[in-house]
Symmetry: C2
Subunit: 435 residues, 2 copies
């Protein structure tokens, strides 16, 4: 892999998300060599992927070159590669561009969509965890309307204009809201020769309420907001099968739809070579102690979404959001330096800053540790926080301008089919290879 030997111990970080990058930054100018590996050459701001899918933002404004983050960091190396395996005995990882030895390994590889072994769903539904996947979804949404124009079969036309989103977490809720706004503001003008009032947005949630990680109040309000926008919210309903056209559920309800978006679960990105015991977290996430050390290993750490630091109060660890990832990255950086200096590591304590979701124009829900609010002020807070955590000044300005423009004009100008999505096309090109 052509990484020169250093006089300092080598920390290898897998993943350039919030966790990996905040760790990398905290190790700058410390007595370590750092190698950061990611399968993309950019950091993805996942919370805004749904806006890429719905034409509100360009992908380039929520991505940031990892090499740029690391510019000027001495003894830092970035490699574009996929990690295939960990060999804890030899303290080596095996990657698509060869093996690499480590002194400390930090796994910050995040999560991927979990279809729970259901192949009909995996093959026929759309995921939205990466930029290529979000662009595929953008293309499919637009292609379906173009195709709806071409058929005289009303049944088929309705299915092409029916969107079923499975999963009532923030991703599902935000996507449903964005689609509803497109239906209202753009479709009638873009497709005057199509009865777009017949377009449907169905949000299917297995649990008894939306946004189950947030307060009851937020759930209730989010549901109200969605229904105001014309979204059909289904609770206690699970999609069990989807052949690309008909979605069956655990109930008698069925949906005829040409676009099913699966946002109903994630699992830890799987690395071969770790013991079964270490991957026993929910969805195969890595079990870590309060120092983010992976169960059973001294020199392997996990941070961010892939790490499950469970406790009595938090049986499944911290929420899978930017905040715990950022805080764990920063904290582990200090611990690694302390350990090298022969000092004791300190346990991680999560500083809960709350959580939020946006539903649409002037409609958001915010739960702060001390108080909760919904509506237009929540929406401003949501926007401010998202701009703040977006990496890069240029990105912030471009996203801000898009938002102002979209707000004033009720528009989404990135409704572009740059690369058409073909169902059943080699998955490795459209998803895996590029995701």
């Amino acid at each position: 892999m052509n990484i020169p030997q250093s006089s300092f111990p080598r920390v290898v970080i897998i993943g350039g998300g919030f966790a990996g990058l905040s760790l990398a930054k905290s190790l700058c100018r410390k007595e370590v060599q750092v190698v950061l590996i990611d399968k993309h050459n950019y950091h993805t701001f996942q919370p805004l992927l749904y806006q890429v899918s719905t034409g509100g933002l360009e992908p380039d404004s929520i991505a940031y070159p990892i090499r740029k983050v690391l510019q000027g960091f001495p003894d830092f190396y970035f490699r574009l590669a996929e990690v295939e395996q960990v060999d804890p005995e030899k303290k080596t990882i095996v990657t698509s561009i060869g093996p690499l030895e480590y002194d400390s390994l930090v796994i910050a590889a995040g999560t991927e969509t979990n279809f729970f072994g259901n192949t009909s769903l995996e093959e026929n539904s759309m995921a939205m965890k990466t930029i290529p996947q979000s662009l595929n979804l953008r293309s499919l949404i637009l292609q379906n309307f173009e195709n709806a124009l071409l058929t005289d079969d009303l049944h088929k036309r309705d299915a092409l204009m029916n969107f079923v989103i499975v999963g009532g977490g923030p991703t599902g809720v935000e996507l449903a809201g964005a689609l509803a706004e497109i239906k209202k503001g753009i479709l009638p003008k873009d497709y005057p020769d199509l009865d777009t009032r017949r377009a449907q947005i169905n949000l299917v949630q297995g649990a008894s309420r939306l946004l189950p990680a947030m307060s009851e109040q937020a759930s209730k309000k989010a549901e109200d907001f969605l229904e105001d926008l014309g979204v059909h919210v289904w609770k206690g309903l699970r999609v069990t099968e989807y052949d690309g056209w008909t979605a069956k559920t655990n109930d008698k309800t069925q949906f005829e739809t040409a676009a099913l978006i699966w946002a109903a679960g994630v699992k830890g990105v799987r690395l071969e070579g770790l013991t079964q015991a270490s991957c026993q977290g929910k969805g195969g996430r890595l079990k870590v102690d309060t120092f983010n050390q992976v169960e059973g290993y001294q020199d392997i750490y996990a941070i961010g979404d892939i790490a499950e630091m469970s406790s009595e109060e938090l049986p499944y660890g911290h929420p899978m959001m930017a905040q715990p990832a950022l805080q764990q990255g920063r904290h582990l950086g200090k611990n690694l330096v302390a350990k090298l200096e022969g000092k004791a590591m300190k346990p991680f304590v999560y500083n809960d800053k709350g959580s939020m979701a946006t539903i649409g124009r002037n409609k958001a829900v915010v739960d702060l540790p001390k108080f909760r609010f919904q509506g237009i002020f929540a929406w401003y807070v949501w926007m401010f926080v998202h701009l703040y955590f977006l990496i890069g000044f240029r990105n912030r300005v471009v996203v801000f301008i898009n938002w102002v423009y979209n707000y004033i004009r009720f528009d989404r100008e990135a409704r572009l089919i740059i690369r058409p999505f073909q169902k059943g096309y080699p998955k490795e090109l459209y998803d895996s290879q590029s995701d």
Copy 2:
């Protein structure tokens, strides 16, 4: 294709470039039904494609939804389709979504890259006529540097950092300049572990000077600018063969390169069904009279790059640029209306507004009909004109902000490999299908 019958005659326009859209606009609220067909759902601002390839702009900011242009136009229809054939006898076109009858047909399909039948070049070199192609090139450029890091073979590493651009027209010149600026401003910071001074940019021109369509003065200055930036300019040299690694020329000169960009010729997009005689323009372009009528047909017109309105002074017709396309579109709109009203059509007269090319920061060349200038003022003029002709307010603002940012920070933040490019991967996915 589900286009309703209208009481007005039907004008079918193939292509949503400058020509097709300006014609469409000029037919708004006239006594015609208009059907615009394009294989993309967006208009591409081709003059800035090279900035997408070099990470200076996001693709979405130089694309604009065609449906948005046509919003509110009564009796206008857009269809996303590929036109396969014209049947002048039946006054019908055959498309990927079925046949369509026309009363008047306007071909504004533009041009595509011409490899002059050289298969080694067609298979192994990169073209840059569409957004997907530009994104492929962006990915390849960045991937080559990532791969250069991984090899100890100096020969191979040099080839991965060697860019050969064939064609000394505006595309070749602008791309060479942009690559040279990346080499200078970004590579040393992004790749501290790579000797990026060894990166080479070679611009190979068959003719005796660069920018042959512009003045001698502009050619000379462009060459000086490029050489100041460290570009190797080769004149009177033609690349004859390229196997993906070694580029052979008509001379003893050879290049070892992993990235050959072919910008040395275009040809009219081919439509089956027209007579041989009508496609006898240079590169198979359609020969038209001064009313833009295609030779041998009464009801078929061609406008923009695909139309060759030749005369004694202009043996190959007007230059293939935005201006003639815009003017022809507008003019033909008036002529079609005149014809319907039983009035005489007027011949097209080109109002030459000059031409320009940019080489880099503060470096551009401008030929106006009355005077010529080069340097920083030309560069401002170039930027102003390009912002002016870009479609969409949001696009203009986003491009402007990118330019200001890139100028102040000497940066290009869209250096993202969103979808990796694999040489030899099914072309239909990476080019044809999506281009």
